[in-house]
Symmetry: C2
Subunit: 538 residues, 2 copies
């Protein structure tokens, strides 16, 4: 979900010396039919459990109680039902999806600050307070297909959105379109590299033929003039849109090389190259939660108990007993197995008989801050005034980014995500009241998109995952890990194994933390292990 | 519409010394409220004609005959009707849109080679044989909004599509994902520039602070290791998709610096930076022709005569007389004014009384070749096998590119554009029969996406604009112009003025040739001029 997650994943992988495997690019491999499909789970292809696996093998009925109706829990329930397991899924909230939460008119939530918000967005308008985008490689798209959830492109990159960075550097506090930031940055680095190679500064590395080929590339990449300089480019945009007749629009003037380099206006372009952020990206039509309502519909009314707050989870002889409160009543369920997808930071609060080392391991998955605030505007000023149709503006202010809607294009209203921040930038918001959050978001946002940012506001709604009941974390950050995976971390590895008949699942036990894909692959791994165990127990 | 058009536009603008105007980036300007909205036509904002302009000014009824029901003709008719002009629009085809042509089941066409094709695509499937994408700045989006045409994102860039270049160079005939091509290219140019600056090769240009800032940028931009080398990146993709537990996917190995530079695998990345190709891009839901059906619906049944082949267009005293054939009958219409949007290459074939210099000027707008072939597959192999959801693969073969559908994601079938080529690459197709075109497209396409490219084909349909009746050209290339505009070209400028009461309009008279925006802005200019003339003639 996050730039910083991707950055740290890369660092982490490199730290482990994994860089430089035996393969070539996945795309090229699968083109040649040499690689497994992208959705495969590494060496082991997931095979959904089948009823026939159990017939004649494991006798009788097999039951599983699943704790949590987010992506991992629902996916596990869905896959286990394929083989006829008796599944009970306990979800504390009144809705499926967990941290996949689409906020729309009627959404009501009391946060852990004690504040209750009720969303009054217009019909058909929403934003995803949690997961909002899907990369092409993730099996999330496979579930969309399998469940009949319609998807659409998600605008994860837009030449017309802007960067605006506070600071003392050149071009500070200036809103610069991505197209201009990229054109100037690429222009000058091309000019510089061409100059250096022309001077022979890299002759020990490059042959004359290399230099010729590189020069040809750089002239195109940087849009350089015939004398090898960057002097501007139509890629930056025009003073006004070119039209017919003699209306050539008028070229713009690039910023100086010094300002571009020292201002760091290209600092965020690598976001677009990230493995799980590069376009094209996707999202379900009507909200990310459509996936989980589809899971719930598939499971039918008997499997999921909403409003079920789990209080106790204990291995007992030949099973697991879970106690929970629902509708004010104490209840209990005992099943052959349990899959616990409750966030690792909340599991230790249950009554349990887990070993101390497991509790310690859960504690190594540290909760993190992230949140969003959505504003419904009654005028799509970003389209009408700035020709921005989707995508996000970025800043080093606490709001971090402003995300524009990818739906209702050309309509009369729309929901803008006024901040999506994490870490320290989010902590600046999470203890505030909603009104204070909105004020801060408007103050920072109007520094980027002007005074109109504060007008035509119909309503707003915010959420902070650290202050959201039943989550209290946006995603897990593993203690001591350089990144978001846990191969080298004993605590992570420990939790991959069941504790007797209790299995843990969730994106925190994957290499795609904060992604639905991580939750799904974790659920699949647990379902596979559990199913193999049952089938072998005949 | 085309890379090469964008490239030549840029060269052309620079040739005229227009580079380096007085402004800053458009986006930043409009952010600050300093610039006109992007859709404005340069210095002069288009104001639709109003009935009140004529009341008490020009007496009586005012009539205009419009030749051609493509974007320029329909836009002109639509705007003139706002002020109550009596408009007759003659369109030779049986449909609106001209070169905006969405091919779907039931589409039938006999081309100038004499071959008749009937499209049998499944319900809801189509491709745009002409215009297929809309940049955010273009007024095409304003007309979509005004006419209630729903738009969606168009995948004009995709990390999972591939490049594959024939030749003797390294990595020739190898399918490489865009994500890998970009990661390796950016990695090595970052490594090289960092090395050069570290060596002091650019110390006359860069201060130490500049060098530090540049280095920080390059490490991020190229995903360099701590010692400043490019040794691969997760941005390239993984050997297989990372999942849960210990499935880290496995990193890939980058190509060598020499191969990347000499192979030119990054040669096409600048396509994504083009002013009118940079994401986000848009297209109407259901086909680009939805815009023109919406125009036609707005105009109502009395304005447009389909199947009307114009034979003669002559200025007569106080009007223009147009003769045409419809339903086998000779017909004639005389109006106060005429707007001729017939392609410039076809106008001289009419009977006319235009001056010789006008005919010569029309001849300077030279017709060009372009065309597409759409294949309906009964399996979405690009999604299932290659995780490609939209976007295009590119090659230097004659097919030039393979465009994947931006609709019906996750469905059971879809239409792939198996080539979209222009110039010499298209001339290799246009004289072929459809069967021959398909065979050539499959042969080249399967070199890129494998043998599956030739399987699961339900049907196909192709078109070549040079061989398409009533067009005979994809777009105009102005003689002697370095690019696609015509400021410095007397022939272009001559045609901006009316010949007595005949006005010319079309994208060929704009600085957005091959774009609907060019046709619309041209139509608006003509409507404005005509309306001002009528109002002044009171």
């Amino acid at each position: 979900m996050e730039t910083d997650v991707e950055v740290t994943r890369r660092s982490f992988m490199r730290g482990l010396g994994i860089t430089g495997g035996a393969g070539i690019a996945y795309g090229a491999m699968s083109t040649l039919g040499l690689a497994p499909a992208a959705a495969d789970t590494g060496g082991r292809t997931f095979r959904p459990p089948r009823r026939s696996d159990l017939l004649g093998a494991a006798q009788g009925d097999h039951s599983v109680v699943i704790l949590g109706g987010g992506p991992a829990g629902l996916c596990a329930a869905y896959e286990l039902r394929k083989a006829g397991y008796t599944v009970t899924l306990l979800e504390a909230r009144s809705r499926p999806g967990g941290r996949v939460w689409s906020v729309r008119g009627g959404t009501e939530e009391t946060d852990l600050n004690g504040e209750t918000q009720t969303c009054t967005f217009s019909d058909g308008h929403y934003y995803n307070l949690g997961a909002t985008r899907i990369p092409q490689g993730h099996i999330t798209l496979d579930y969309c297909r399998e469940l009949g959830v319609e998807i659409q492109a998600f605008g994860n990159q837009n030449a017309n959105t802007v960067v605006n960075y506070r600071g003392d550097q050149p071009l500070a506090d200036t809103s610069i379109t991505y197209r201009a930031a990229k054109a100037d940055t690429y222009g000058y680095i091309s000019e510089l590299l061409k100059k250096a190679t022309d001077r022979g500064a890299l002759d020990d590395v490059l042959t004359q033929d290399d230099k010729d080929a590189l020069s040809e590339f750089l002239v195109d990449f940087g849009d350089l003039s015939s004398d090898g300089r960057y002097v501007g480019s139509s890629r930056r945009g025009y003073e006004s849109e070119p039209g017919a007749g003699l209306n050539f629009g008028g070229d713009t003037t690039p910023y100086s090389m010094h300002d571009v380099i020292r201002g760091g206006i290209g600092r965020n372009v690598s976001f677009e190259f990230g493995y799980d952020q590069a376009m094209l990206m996707f999202t379900p039509v009507g909200g990310m939660d459509r996936i989980y309502h589809a899971f719930a519909d598939e499971l039918g009314g008997d499997v999921i108990e909403y409003g079920a707050e789990v209080r106790s989870m204990k291995n007992v002889p030949d099973g697991v007993t879970v106690e929970y409160v629902r509708g004010g009543e104490q209840r209990s369920v005992t099943a052959d197995y349990c899959i616990c997808t409750i966030p690792p930071n909340l599991v230790p609060r249950l009554a349990h008989n887990l070993p101390g080392e497991v509790i310690a391991a859960l504690g190594a998955a540290r909760p993190s801050s992230s949140g969003k605030l959505g504003i419904e505007y009654s005028r799509r000023w970003w389209e009408e005034d700035e020709r921005i149709f989707g995508g996000a503006s970025h800043t080093n202010r606490d709001i971090s980014q402003i995300m524009f809607p990818y739906d209702h294009f050309g309509g009369d209203r729309g929901v803008v995500v006024a901040y999506y921040s994490s870490g320290g930038s989010q902590r600046a918001f999470e203890s505030l009241t909603h009104k204070q959050r909105l004020a801060k978001a408007l103050a920072e946002g109007s520094e980027i998109h002007g005074e109109k940012y504060t007008r035509d506001i119909a309503s707003s709604f915010s959420g902070s995952w650290r202050r959201t009941k039943y989550s209290e974390s946006a995603w897990a950050s593993w203690k001591g890990a350089a990144g978001h995976g846990g191969e080298a971390i004993p605590e992570y590895e420990l939790l991959l194994d069941p504790v007797d008949r209790i299995y843990f699942a969730g994106d925190h036990l994957s290499n795609a933390i904060a992604w639905q894909h991580g939750a799904f692959t974790s659920a699949r791994d647990v379902v596979t292990a559990l199913h193999e165990r049952v089938a072998a127990s005949a």
